[in-house]
């Protein structure tokens, strides 16, 4: 029974003289190979040269600090519960008197760990975050030799004050405007001027 119309009968015929020289075949092949010398290269010389990245590229996470440098994360656990890969774990602690400049809220994350091997970089954690604390950045997670080194703690995740990370590209214009509404800034103390004239949503 014939299974397909594309089947070929294999012939066992002898090579002709010109074929046995292999020369036309070699010329044909080399011309293809050499023509690629003059074509545009498909690769770049990474890491000296970098391809442009989208502003919303989902790479390594950052735990943001606020304007005065206090950590925004309050260890509410919403990122961890949203995480489909269960990569995030945290432990919370209570802020003591005098630590107001270090932590924004009464409670903060004493331990915050993301397992970068588990993480699928879906960005649901930044979507879930009510405190604008966690964002994904365009930094690609470094390669490591040991599996343990992929568990990133606060030392690697928290934003350094000397190297602030801009995340405004990750927020749409509407979101940035929405967050300016005074009624939503429950952390701020009322200064007597800014009244909530927020639009209805």
């Amino acid at each position: 029974m014939k299974l397909t119309s594309r089947s070929k009968v294999v012939s066992n015929k002898e090579q002709s003289f010109s074929e046995s020289l292999y020369l036309p075949g070699i010329i044909k092949g080399m011309s293809i190979t050499l023509s690629h010398l003059f074509k545009r290269r498909a690769t770049v010389k990474y890491p000296d040269e970098l391809r442009p990245m989208a502003g919303v590229y989902r790479g390594q996470h950052v735990l943001k600090r606020d304007d005065i440098g206090a950590e925004r994360c309050t260890a509410c656990g919403l990122c961890a519960v949203a995480c489909p890969a269960e990569a995030i774990t945290m432990e919370s602690a209570e802020r003591k008197k005098g630590e107001e400049g270090m932590y924004r809220e009464e409670k903060y994350a004493r331990i915050y760990e993301i397992n970068m091997l588990r993480c699928i970089f879906c960005g649901l954690c930044e979507e879930a975050c009510p405190k604008e604390a966690i964002f994904l950045t365009d930094k690609i997670v470094d390669t490591e030799y040991e599996r343990e080194d992929f568990i990133y703690g606060k030392d690697k995740l928290v934003e350094k004050m000397t190297a602030r990370i801009d995340v405004t590209k990750r927020q749409t214009k509407e979101v940035i405007e929405f967050k300016k509404l005074p009624g939503l800034k429950h952390n701020e103390l009322f200064d007597g001027k800014s009244l909530n004239k927020g639009k209805k949503h």
Binding site: V81, S92, E105, G183, H186, N196
Partner: protein, 327 residues
């Protein structure tokens, strides 16, 4: 007495309130209640979330009641007709009540230990609007320690007075009450007196918000990362039947068991609540029933069967073929 709530008729004895009658029918007609508590005498009548419309007073006097009434404090009459979720004006009025309850309540759910099992969160989600119209400073308080095990966040309090009723009725001598009046009212122990009674810890369980929290559980873990199991132990003071919240092998906290109306089934003593934080102290009966919609069931899979039934029901309603009977 025959009473009709949202078109469903039920026969209840004399002296039953509308709220109790509605609860007898089921959660589909029962109004939400923030301050009323079945097990606490004279509770209710403060929060107004349970308001309903009485469209027919009784068979003898079929006139409707002129205003929405608090169903927790209104007794049923023969032939009474009540509208709850079927009345648009009640839904609108309840939305206003929720807005009032949230006036001074801070939006600190990410910090609050009650988040995930908070009735005010549920109420706000179901009835409130997402935005606030309030333009003034919310009242703020320093946290107060009531004894060494209870933390009072007066900022979050909605003044339901349940904790005051507990101290009045469950405990022998009242040292926990309210001071000041009106919008200045505060819950307080009378001049910072610690509550030493064996059952004082129950104020934590009756609190519908995160105003009274367990200091032994404070900021330990979010509730949805803990697994609630029903457990018991031999206790000389109380029944010893509790709900133990586990994380791995650790007992993070112990609370009383709650029924479907979020009310404590049996009050437990402080010894069970605070002093037995080892898994070996407890005989575990099994996982606690948690509503599928609750965030606490987020990481549990006990309810897959409920989910299946629910999906089948919806598919049937949409005219899908019955999957079980498929050839």
């Amino acid at each position: 007495m025959k009473v009709t709530i949202d078109g469903i008729e039920i026969d209840v004895p004399k002296g039953t309130t509308i709220l109790q009658a509605a609860r007898l029918i089921g959660p589909e007609v029962a109004p939400p209640a923030m301050c009323y508590y079945t097990k606490l005498k004279t509770s209710g009548g403060y929060c107004r979330t349970c308001i309903v419309k009485v469209s027919k007073g009784s068979t003898a006097n079929p006139n409707p009641m002129p205003k929405p009434v608090a169903s927790c404090r209104t007794e049923v009459m023969e032939g009474m007709e009540v509208q709850n979720f079927t009345s648009p004006e009640i839904l609108e009025a309840r939305k206003g009540v929720v807005e009032f309850l949230l006036i001074n309540h801070p939006l600190d759910c990410p910090v609050c230990d009650q988040a995930g099992e908070c009735k005010l969160q549920d109420l706000g989600y179901e009835n409130g609007s997402a935005n606030t119209r309030y333009e003034f400073k919310r009242r703020e308080f320093e946290t107060i320690d009531i004894g060494d095990k209870i933390k009072l966040h007066m900022t979050r309090c909605i003044l339901c007075y349940r904790c005051v009723k507990v101290c009045d009725q469950i405990t022998d001598n009242r040292v926990h009450g309210a001071i000041h009046r009106g919008d200045a009212a505060e819950i307080s122990t009378y001049i910072d007196k610690a509550i030493t009674n064996d059952f004082s810890g129950n104020v934590i369980d009756v609190c519908p918000v995160g105003a009274l929290t367990d200091k032994t559980f404070r900021f330990k873990q979010r509730v949805w990362f803990t697994k609630p199991v029903d457990a018991h132990r031999k206790c000389t003071k109380c029944s010893g039947k509790t709900r133990v919240w586990l994380k791995g092998e650790d007992v993070l906290r112990v609370t009383a068991r709650k029924d479907q109306w979020d009310e404590v089934q049996e009050f437990i003593c402080n010894s069970c609540r605070y002093d037995h934080k080892k898994k070996s102290d407890w005989v575990i009966e099994g996982p606690s029933p948690i509503a599928r919609q609750s965030v606490i069931s987020q990481n549990h899979y006990e309810h897959l069967n409920d989910l299946k039934v629910e999906i089948m029901k919806q598919q049937k309603a949409l005219g899908f073929m019955d999957l079980e009977k498929r050839p």
